[in-house]
């Protein structure tokens, strides 16, 4: 099953490689991983998507927690949460397809952030399925380049993952 894990890490050099190294050393899956400092510059927040049986996820949580740089972590999949991913997609927008591309972007509530006479860059956020759907509908013939951030997630409600 897919799990989305949020980790508060000391913002130290090498902290990211400790997490990445742990996954490769123990043969755990890693689907995506995003990390950036938080409002407290001494802390980084990492969002990690992985999959495995309940036993494997339990080990992943324990092993992550065992890392000295890990301050706190939570498996967001255990409760209601909001998940968002950012995509920048460069599409062909030539005579004949320009209007259609614009309309599609509007339907998906995306923004066009760069325009040339042959292309658009579309900026779009949503969960992974929505981004996949857009990619699907544009189709490989019209896609020049895709870049995705990997999911970010946060638990619903007033409680937060803080120190």
């Amino acid at each position: 099953m897919r799990h989305i894990i949020s980790i508060l890490l000391e913002n130290e050099a090498g902290a990211l490689s400790r997490v990445a190294g742990l996954f490769s050393a123990r043969g755990f899956n890693i689907e995506s991983l995003t990390v950036a400092p938080t409002e407290d510059p001494s802390l980084s927040r990492m969002t990690l998507v992985t999959s495995g049986s309940e036993d494997v996820i339990e080990q992943i949580m324990k092993q992550l927690n065992k890392l000295i740089d890990t301050v706190k972590l939570v498996d967001l999949s255990e409760g209601p949460h909001i998940e968002r991913e950012l995509m920048l997609i460069k599409v062909r927008a030539e005579k004949g397809t320009r209007d259609e591309m614009k309309r599609l972007a509007d339907i998906f509530r995306a923004h066009i952030v760069d325009v040339t006479d042959a292309s658009y860059i579309v900026e779009m956020t949503g969960d992974g399925d929505k981004l996949d759907a857009f990619i699907g509908i544009v189709g490989p013939d019209h896609i020049i380049e895709v870049v995705r951030s990997g999911p970010l997630a946060i638990a619903r409600g007033s409680r937060g993952l803080t120190v």
Partner: protein
């Protein structure tokens, strides 16, 4: 940093002579702040940690530190002959004392040579602080001479590691390294120190950091009381209980608590290879070691038990055999300080995260308070079955052999040294198993071997650390002719520091354990396991300035050992020529269950025994 008073650094002892001067400053206590270079901070920080010995080998990147050591006599530096020896020696020191072992090596090859020893300590959860030199910060990443990414290389085999980029961080980092290494589940910590950080021309204020708190690292201090009660309830309900304990009881100094728990409950107990000595081996309630080369009674009791109390053990594959066949009918309680050890290999019913010492103390208290008692009647029947298994005498061997049997050699060693303040280190292989099976360890920290990583070459250098820690004690290293050659260079260190270690070499002319597997599982095709160009070990020992002996007949062994152990101030290398065809029994083949043991050939088959 408002008030800083820089007194000139005075070399050993470090005393500031102007207390009045400091007292005169308003609002400031009489604690003078001294100014030290990075190299001096390293040495002073080690002193402040109470470090007695540093095991090391100099090189370019650590020369500033070595210069500071030269001017400081409070810390004794032990010059090894290979960095692997330094880590193993520090490891032996740590295992024998419970205090962290300290290592100092240079960058590049110094660090990579130390890696085997670091990984050895990591697998067995031994507290080490390993200081490695690094190339100066401005050239890190430029493939400079003797540069290697030490933090990257050691990351998977340390508890934690640090790269110190600024000398201002040096003191606190070293404090943190000791704190992390010695608390919670212990382990090695590497501190990588670039050469410019120890620059002798730059001084900064130094203060001993007494207490360190880390928001990301808070080891547990006690087990959950509700879980402890649940465990005790299981113990009371048990009809066929079994206590299985590992290295955690030794590391956690919980031998007394274990002994109390075992005696109070009347339950049988078995130790893992790492846990030997945690419970007195000569006691009737002790069933011997379990696992791949464990006793018949210990493994059968594991297989048949209905409640298993696992304490400070990690369900290693050499212990469990095939997990699907592991304790098939048992409810399992697992006490461990490391939550990630729990339910990693074997699902348990009652997990208790906490220091084993505290948890067992609590278990004993709860057990005493209970109104209901242990089921003595069922326990009596259980002991009858166990005694039946014990009567199989699974460690039997041919005592009338004309050749020295390795088992006989260990038994003789036990006979000769049992009344002494004795420590035994081991290398890895058949001799290690024979020692674990036949030497009766009555106290913890007396049996020192590489269990998790299985590092050949561990025995001799670790014995150096043990002997330095306990100069009055008798220290022996049991080894094989293959293992000993992996760190033979340390005989020179032993000579330099007058370490009167006794090497008991069980020389069968083979890599015995490899040969045994090839005999059992590879049709007797002894591929590269025969060492047909062995040195003359007597001459070898003598060339290093030690005493060498060669013993070939069983009748000569005891006398020779008594003579060797009588030489209190000399290292004696006993080349004991043993039967090359002897195998370690019982044996559970990898991937088999506890009930599927090979027993010695002279014993009847298992089915006939039942």
């Amino acid at each position: 940093m408002q008030y800083q008073y820089f007194a000139r650094f005075r070399y050993s002892p470090l005393i500031i002579h102007f207390p009045g001067f400091f007292a005169a400053i308003p609002g400031h206590a009489e604690v003078p702040v001294v100014e030290l270079t990075g190299a001096e901070i390293v040495v002073q920080a080690l002193k402040d940690e109470g470090v007695e010995y540093v095991f090391g080998y100099p090189g370019g990147a650590v020369l500033h530190i070595y210069d500071a050591i030269f001017r400081e006599d409070a810390i004794k530096h032990i010059l090894v002959r290979h960095e692997q020896g330094a880590t193993h020696a520090a490891d032996g020191y740590a295992r024998a004392t419970g205090r962290p072992g300290v290592v100092l090596v240079t960058s590049g090859p110094g660090a990579t040579n130390a890696v085997t020893g670091i990984a050895t300590a990591h697998m067995d959860s031994i507290p080490l602080v390993v200081l490695t030199g690094q190339v100066p910060t401005p050239v890190i990443g430029s493939d400079a001479f003797q540069e290697v990414d030490t933090v990257g290389i050691t990351r998977p085999c340390v508890k934690h590691n640090f790269l110190v980029k600024r000398r201002e961080e040096l003191a606190e980092t070293i404090r943190k390294a000791f704190y992390i290494a010695t608390t919670g589940r212990p382990g090695p910590v590497v501190v990588d120190i670039p050469k410019d950080v120890t620059d002798p021309n730059v001084k900064i204020p130094y203060e001993h950091v007494k207490k360190v708190t880390m928001r990301s690292y808070n080891p547990v201090e006690k087990g959950h009381p509700g879980q402890v009660r649940k465990a005790v309830e299981l113990m009371l309900a048990a009809e066929r209980p079994m206590i299985y304990t590992g290295g955690g009881v030794v590391l956690g100094d919980a031998s007394d608590e274990l002994t109390e728990l075992v005696r109070l409950s009347g339950f049988p107990v078995t130790n893992t290879l790492m846990g030997l000595g945690a419970y007195p081996a000569s006691d009737r309630q002790f069933l011997g070691m379990l696992g791949m080369h464990g006793t018949y009674e210990a493994n059968m009791a594991m297989h048949e038990c209905d409640v298993l109390i696992a304490i400070g053990a990690r369900f290693d594959d050499r212990v469990t055999g095939k997990v699907a066949h592991f304790c098939p009918n048992a409810k399992i309680v697992h006490v461990d300080i490391d939550p990630s050890s729990i339910s990693k290999n074997v699902k348990v019913d009652v997990p208790i995260v906490g220091p084993v010492k505290r948890v067992m103390h609590d278990m004993v208290n709860v057990l005493r308070e209970q109104k209901s008692a242990i089921n003595k009647e069922a326990l009596g029947r259980w002991w009858e079955r166990i005694e039946g298994w014990r009567r199989v005498d699974c460690l039997r061997y041919d005592r009338n052999s004309e050749r020295i049997k390795p088992q006989f050699a260990v038994e003789t060693l036990y006979k000769v040294t049992r009344d002494q303040d004795f420590y035994l280190t081991s290398d890895v292989g058949q001799h290690q198993m024979f020692a674990a099976q036949f030497y009766k360890f009555e106290k913890p920290r007396r049996w020192i071997n590489s269990g998790g990583l299985g590092t050949m070459g561990f025995g001799l250098p670790s014995a150096m650390g043990v002997q330095l820690a306990h100069p009055e004690a008798t220290v022996a290293c049991v080894s094989g002719e293959a293992s000993i050659l992996m760190c033979i260079q340390e005989l020179a260190t032993c000579k330099q520091y007058h370490l009167p270690i006794k090497v008991v070499l069980l020389n069968n002319g083979y890599m015995g354990m490899v040969r045994q597997w090839q005999e059992f599982f590879y049709g007797g095709r002894y591929s590269h396991s025969y060492l047909d160009s062995l040195p003359d070990f007597v001459g070898l020992a003598q060339s290093f300035g030690h005493v060498g002996m060669r013993i070939e007949k069983p009748a000569d062994l005891e006398g020779a050992m008594r003579e060797a152990f009588g030489m209190k101030d000399r290292l004696v290398f006993m080349d004991v020529v043993v039967d090359p065809s002897e195998n370690v029994y019982p044996m559970i083949e990898a991937g088999k269950g506890h009930h599927e043991m090979y027993l010695p050939p002279q014993l009847s088959t298992e089915s006939e025994l039942a």
